[in-house]
Amino acid sequence: MRRATTPRAHLNLTDRLMVESADDSKWLAKNYSRLARRYPEQFVAVFNKKVVASHEDIAQLMKLVERRLPTATRLVSTEYLTRKKATVIL
């Protein structure tokens, strides 16, 4: 009897991590206001639609991410959250 597999079962670790994180930046954008209330004036790191670390300095944030998600550090989305968001006009 053929065993049922999920569509992601054939993917290697790198591809699977990429699929999981593909929409993280879009999720961050959609949830900006809610997250800015919880993490004001901080950078947050998001992986698989979850906040995995926060810090006011992005270099320190990435050190936390390296410790917590060593295999996925390069795929982690980040954003600076503020309740006084400036509109960037170019």
């Binding site: 992005i58 990435m62 954003e79 503020t82 400036a86 960037v88 170019l90």
Partner: protein, 155 residues
């Protein structure tokens, strides 16, 4: 091959790139604002910090560039590879020279909000589709002729 982007909270189009620093052997995901008005791709200060670029690793450019907050100090990085996330996996492109923009007179809380910009030097290698009605931000290497575009939209 299609590279999907997204609109951020204020409706600006962005695309994510995994930026590899070849000499440092380090990669980080950077969100780029798709800016058709910028000839050169620019990495902002906060994203240069995310990429752990030290001041000695950049070459100062003797050029005047007018950006947010007036004239800015410009540096360049020459060892970057951009990797776009596509439906077929990663699509890599070596980029010749990427600028890093440094602002001395902008408070940190504003500097942290300045995005990196995907300029026409990289974007021009692809077809760009932006459709706010259908929530579509797309870069594609598919060949499009003028006839394709007009047939699609006007017939």
């Amino acid at each position: 091959m299609r590279i999907k982007g997204y609109f951020n909270a204020d409706g600006s189009p962005f695309v994510d790139v995994i930026v590899y620093r070849r000499r440092a052997g380090l990669a980080r995901r950077i969100s780029f604002l798709i800016d058709t008005g910028t000839p050169r791709t620019v990495i902002s200060e906060r994203d240069a910090d995310k990429l752990e670029v030290g001041p000695t690793e950049m070459e100062r450019m003797d050029a005047h560039m007018l950006g947010i907050g007036g004239f800015t100090q410009i540096f360049k990085l020459t060892d970057l590879t951009f990797s776009f996330i596509t439906e077929c996996g990663e699509h890599q492109r070596e980029v010749g020279e990427v600028l890093v923009n440094k602002h001395d007179h902008i408070p940190e809380k504003y500097k942290n909000q300045i995005p990196s910009l995907l300029g026409r030097d990289v974007m021009g290698q692809y077809a760009l589709v932006l459709d706010g009605r259908k929530d579509i931000v797309l870069l594609s290497d598919e060949t499009m002729t003028e006839d394709d575009v007009f047939e699609e939209n006007f017939n």
